[in-house]
């Protein structure tokens, strides 16, 4: 496998409320390698999203460390909801990240617009988000995340708000985009099929406080799309294995 990009070592995190203290993560060890697609599955409410917040730096661990291979690893975060800004056009939504980070050069802008074009959204450039379907909105949100050229993509249940059809199609497309742009990605999901159909490795988390229960490598060829993977006979074996890990 290629070189390490991110390392979580003995990470613990406790939430404080007036009522007391809740352990959300307990002694979590996890390494993410460059270019891989890692999926995290776990029982709902186990603190999967919290792990992304820790990686993103939105929260600090109570104990342990979150270390990147280099200090200038750039992160992109894709949320469950698209959070497109209604008063901006699709194009200006896509440029939001660059704008906020003061990196809106002509080059960067051209690159972002090329992404829109490559992924079939060019004719919607001047549309407002309200005019787009849920799946298209989420695609715009992905391109907004890609526009800042992240080295590591954090995907926080990005398909869970969509209907089943859109979900399958979009996960197929997002997978292709991420592979083609050679990004490293961490996908948090509660959907086992989604994890198996997209990831190189699936990390199964325990119930709260979350820790790593099992790492399951998925042996499909990366050239197979998620939809094609779903048709492979081994797909169900992976599914069953993860199911058992989750319910053991």
């Amino acid at each position: 496998m290629s070189s390490e990009l991110l390392n979580l070592s003995s990470v613990s995190l406790a939430y404080h409320t007036v009522e007391g203290e809740t352990a959300a993560i307990n002694d979590l060890n996890l390494t993410v390698y460059e270019g891989e697609f890692l999926a995290i599955v776990g029982p709902s409410g186990c603190g999967k999203t919290t792990v992304l917040s820790l990686i993103m730096g939105l929260m600090q661990p109570t104990a342990g460390s979150v270390r990147f291979a280099s200090p200038d690893v750039r992160l992109g975060y894709m949320l469950q909801r698209d959070h497109l800004l209604d008063h901006r056009t699709v194009e200006n939504n896509v440029l939001l990240g660059l704008e906020v980070q003061h990196r809106l050069t002509d080059d960067a802008k051209a690159r972002a617009l090329r992404l829109l074009d490559t992924y079939g959204l060019n004719e919607f450039r001047t549309y407002k988000p309200q005019q787009l379907s849920g799946g298209m909105r989420q695609k715009v949100a992905l391109i907004r995340t890609l526009a800042i050229e992240p080295d590591l993509l954090l995907l926080d249940e990005p398909f869970s708000a969509l209907d089943y059809q859109t979900r399958l199609n979009l996960s197929d497309e997002v997978y292709r985009i991420i592979r083609r742009e050679h990004k490293t990605a961490i996908l948090v999901t509660h959907d086992i099929s989604e994890a198996v159909s997209m990831a190189d490795r699936v990390a199964v988390f325990s119930a709260r406080p979350a820790s790593l229960k099992r790492l399951i490598p998925i042996g499909f060829l990366p050239s197979l799309s998620p939809l094609e993977r779903r048709r492979q006979p081994e797909f169900h074996d992976y599914f069953d294995r993860i199911w058992e890990e989750l319910h053991a």
Partner: protein, 265 residues
């Protein structure tokens, strides 16, 4: 912008819509004309005493008299100036105050109960105090107009800001945005509809403030005419002033609504 029918059924559909619109418009005008006619008729036939209830013709005569002795524009101008000043200042200060409270959440938390009380308090109760502070003149009336629209603007705009913040804060933080960026790129633009709703509320509020202010202390203005007319039992004058007030308030409201249409586009 007349939509063209794409089929016969669509044409029928469009026709129904047009007929309904026409019906509503006709009914509205009908009510107005019917009301005026009935009022005039009732006064002529002595169903009631026109000295107490006035009548459309007497109101018209009063307006014409005010116009010919030159005082009509003085009174309208005075009230309009006071209201526009009160409205603009109240909205501006209210919006600025909302920005301040958004920026400093702790200040917002500290001041919250005071804001609630100020919002609940009938501001016109402060009238006598204002006269003592600002003198028996136009300043007191404008301050009253400001006061009445200020608090409601602050509360409405602040709530709009906070809703927008809850919604998009996480996204902006993942992009690494500063507080100023969150404000200028998200909170302010998505707060504009709330700002406009606040304008619509406070334009009415300013009229309340100014008219009450004029009741308490004034030498000119529509509120002055109403009080004066009531005191000397010239009900024609009172009714004429109220009618003018109706027209002015409606015009100002529509001006704001027009602005809204422009901004929403």
């Amino acid at each position: 912008m007349k939509p063209t029918a794409v089929s016969e059924a669509h044409a029928r559909y469009l026709k129904t819509i047009r007929r309904n619109t026409r019906l509503v418009r006709l009914a509205r005008i009908g009510i107005l004309i019917g009301f005026v006619l009935l009022w005039e008729l009732g006064a002529d036939l002595r169903w009631f005493d026109p000295f107490i209830l006035s009548s459309p013709s007497r109101i018209l005569a009063t307006v014409v008299r005010l116009y010919s002795d030159g005082s009509l524009w003085l009174h309208i101008g005075t009230t309009l100036l006071e209201t526009v000043l009160g409205f603009l200042l109240g909205t501006l200060l209210g919006a600025l105050f909302a920005v301040l409270l958004w920026w400093l959440p702790r200040l917002n938390r500290i001041l919250d109960p005071y804001l609630v009380v100020l919002n609940a308090l009938p501001k016109i109760a402060l009238g006598p105090v204002l006269i003592v502070w600002f003198g028996a003149g136009m300043t007191s009336i404008v301050v009253m107009g400001v006061l009445v629209s200020l608090v409601v603007t602050t509360v409405t705009v602040l709530n709009g800001f906070l809703a927008a913040t809850d919604e998009k804060q996480l996204l902006m933080r993942t992009l690494g945005a500063t507080k100023l960026q969150i404000f200028t790129k998200v909170v302010l633009p998505s707060g504009i509809p709330d700002l406009i709703s606040a304008l619509k509320i406070s334009v009415g509020m300013s009229w309340v403030g100014v008219i009450v202010g004029e009741y308490l202390v004034s030498k000119a203005g529509l509120g002055y005419l109403i009080v004066y007319g009531g005191q000397v039992f010239k009900l024609d004058l009172v009714m004429a002033s109220v009618m003018i007030l109706c027209v002015l308030a409606a015009l100002m409201y529509y001006a704001v609504a027009l602005l809204e249409k422009k901004v929403r586009k």
